[in-house]
Amino acid sequence: MPVETWLIFILGFMILGSIIALELKDILSSVISIGVVGLGVSVAFLFLQALDLAIVQFLFEIFALIILVRAFIGKEYHIKEPSKSHVIQTVVTIVVLLSILILSINVFRLLPQFGEPIFSTARHYIENGAKETGAANIVTAIILDYRAYDTLGEVTVLFTAILGVLAILRTKSKTTSPAGGDHETN
């Protein structure tokens, strides 16, 4: 089977998983269904031969699943009863999505062949990457040599995000905890 068929199959699987996640009443089952979506993304990357992305996606999916299960386990969530406005919302959503699909159907004819055009920059990376950087893995060669400045930005974003989380949560935990001393200021 060609790659496109597999991708469409995985995409259908992911859409099914997200619909089930929305419709399920139990929050823990919804989290597991969301995990199906992440696994689908990872397998799709495998079919597209992007092994680095597949590994990272799979690992982050495990990480997110652990945090979500940890956060939601043993908690009661109030589930709203479906009302009349719910039905109207569904109809409006389906109509809007269908009209967008119909209006954009011309664009699909303009799309190039799957994976066909290789731009001149990408061609340069593929042809000269190993020679110029000495790294056999072309993805690493790009993110840490050609586009290392980009990676520096990524590191800075991660650093700032972690700093923000630490700052916000630490201040709150200091003021709300009655006894203190349970956590150190580090």
Partner: protein, 150 residues
């Protein structure tokens, strides 16, 4: 180790063996980032997951005794500065910001590709310690909010 803290004895025993294998695999992914698929981000997440495994199996109190969280936060912060320092060193030696100024070596060798393996290790320290510190902070925050004591 109190039995009340963390999970059952079976989980603890399995964790005691498996954590080192997970750490070893993470190190392999990091050090071979320039040869095979993987790299700093993937290996960093694997190491963070190993720490998370210990935290889930043994409880938060054990982690606090096992490693110094403040030190992990210091590693995380200083690796960001180290990345920048390598970039500025490239400007001084190689003639451009983040230039690959060490000799490339032979293709497919473990020690090759100049600064790329070093940057991989720096990113791995950054990602692993950052993710673990965030999870640990969330766990502590949850503990304080819920009002339950360890």
């Amino acid at each position: 180790m109190k039995q009340t803290e963390g999970m059952t004895l079976i989980v603890k025993t399995v964790t005691r063996i498996s954590v080192w294998m997970i750490l070893l695999y993470g190190l392999y992914i990091i050090l071979h980032g320039h040869i095979s698929p993987g790299g700093g981000f993937a290996g960093g997440v694997i190491i963070a997951l190993a720490f998370l495994n210990v935290m889930l199996a043994y409880g938060r109190g054990f982690i606090k005794r096992w490693v110094n969280i403040g030190f992990l936060h210091d590693i995380e912060s200083s690796s960001a500065a180290l990345f920048l320092a390598i970039g500025i060193l490239g400007m001084a030696v190689g003639g451009g910001f983040l230039a690959n100024f060490i000799s490339h070596g032979k293709l497919f060798h473990l020690i090759s590709a100049g600064t790329i393996p070093i940057l991989n290790i720096v990113i791995a320290a950054k990602v692993s310690m950052g993710l673990f510190v965030v999870v640990w902070t969330l766990a502590i925050f949850h503990l304080d909010k819920g009002g339950k004591k360890e």
